[in-house]
Point group: C2
Chain length 231, copies 2
DNA sequence: CTTAGAGTGTGGTTAGACCACAGGGGATCC
DNA sequence: GGATCCCCTGTGGTCTAACCACACTCTAAG
């Protein structure tokens, strides 16, 4: 077993046993190194991994915001991992889109009617209806709208996976907009479809919402020309 | 931007541009450090992150198996990330099980009839039918059976997510078996259900397969007493 | 031709040093 | 006495230099 894994194991145990919780602070690198009888380098390697996994956040200086504190951002971990594996071209973009459709269909059909995320989604739709929004702003709002819908189902794992899927193909998706023949027409259609989806969710018509969201996503990628093997 | 992120960005670019591919080798740590004008420490931190993400594998010594080579094991990344976040108790086990049900239901209903993974699943069922298998062996075969089913859908992202979900709660699941009143009876029931699921898949009856697999998983966790907030 | 040894290059680990940063508390000034 | 400024301390961030264990490869001895 490598040295840094020993540090990882120690921290994971502290988390499992409840001695470390979100918001808490990990011992300083130098103290931890001394305590575990390893070098500071090894401690740092472990902390780097945790940082990449969205489990801790490192901050220099002193005071309450400094030091290495425990957070919980599963989306960060899954997102960067997926992005890297997409880069290796061992995770086809088509599979990511397909997975997104399946997760999001499930999410809207299981949305909790009273979820505050639905109000958020409604507000985001209002912002998207404004005429002044640019393409990039529209896309950013679109991402947040879909994530809000996914969150409304109340499943943290599904939410995290949805977020990471979006993150991993954000760059790809924004390149796709260049393929659209008429952005304004597309945007208008997307707005209408968004309202339809949200209405179905609020009518507690999960099946209709699932169907609409699947058509919505697949229709967009088809129009933008999801190329297999594009540059 | 931190130094190790520069190294990460360089490697990710090399992957995206196709200059690095799975099976290829990353420059030696010392050369890369010199090339990018950073210290070997920073290079190592970046490589550690990639290793934790399942993107590279580091091997000492010399020869074809040595050095840092590019691999692609998305399951490793997602699995350890999920496990850590479960440890922080910000990802409820219930949500993981629910997500597993939704992914696996989709997978069996979209299984490709000709997939060789179905033959693998059949063989695994045969091994599980043997009388001599211990509890641990049975569970290990069970995991492989379900993963084979998920692979049969041919979606790499869904396969990776399924694998990581299983990995993240393996420890939890094996503790659950202690709650079962009568293991032999449960095992017998699981065997029957497995054959039923596989038969439905091979009959191209995706809906029935999805329903059976959902009942199968939920039934097991219910019998074993999926405790919310257990130690 | 076989085999034992030295050589070479790889990642693994450590120690020690220096830097930039940000807060805290004491010294100073009004 | 109160407000202000500045040094001190502790944090993570980075780098250098050295040594180790390992596994192959080449060489020279048998």
């Amino acid at each position: 077993m490598k040295t840094h894994q020993l540090v990882l194991a120690w921290i994971e145990t502290e988390l499992s046993e409840g001695r470390l919780a979100v918001g808490g602070r990990i011992p300083a690198e130098r103290s931890l190194a001394e305590q575990l009888k390893v070098s500071r380098t090894s401690v740092r390697e472990a902390i780097r991994i945790l940082e990449a996994m969205g489990v801790v956040r490192a901050g220099v200086g002193s005071g309450p915001e400094a030091g290495t504190v425990v957070i919980s951002d599963p989306t960060a971990a899954l997102g960067s991992a997926l992005r890297l594996h997409v880069a290796t071209q061992h995770l086809p973009v088509e599979d990511i889109v397909e997975t997104r459709v399946l997760l999001e269909s499930w999410a809207v059909s299981h949305a909790k009617p009273g979820s505050p995320q639905l109000a958020v989604a409604t507000r985001l739709l209002g912002e998207m209806d404004a005429e002044a929004v640019s393409v990039d702003e529209f896309l950013a709002l679109d991402v947040r709208f879909h994530l809000a819908l996914a969150d409304a189902a109340g499943n943290a794992v599904v939410s995290a996976m949805m977020g990471s899927l979006r993150e991993s193909i954000t760059g790809y998706a924004s390149r796709l907009t260049g393929n659209l023949p008429d952005w304004d027409a597309t945007a208008a259609r997307l707005r209408v479809e968004h309202h339809g989806i949200l209405a179905a969710v609020q009518d507690h018509d999960g099946d209709r919402a699932a169907r609409l969201v699947a058509d919505h996503i697949e229709g967009y990628y088809k129009e933008a020309g999801l190329a297999s093997g594009g540059t």
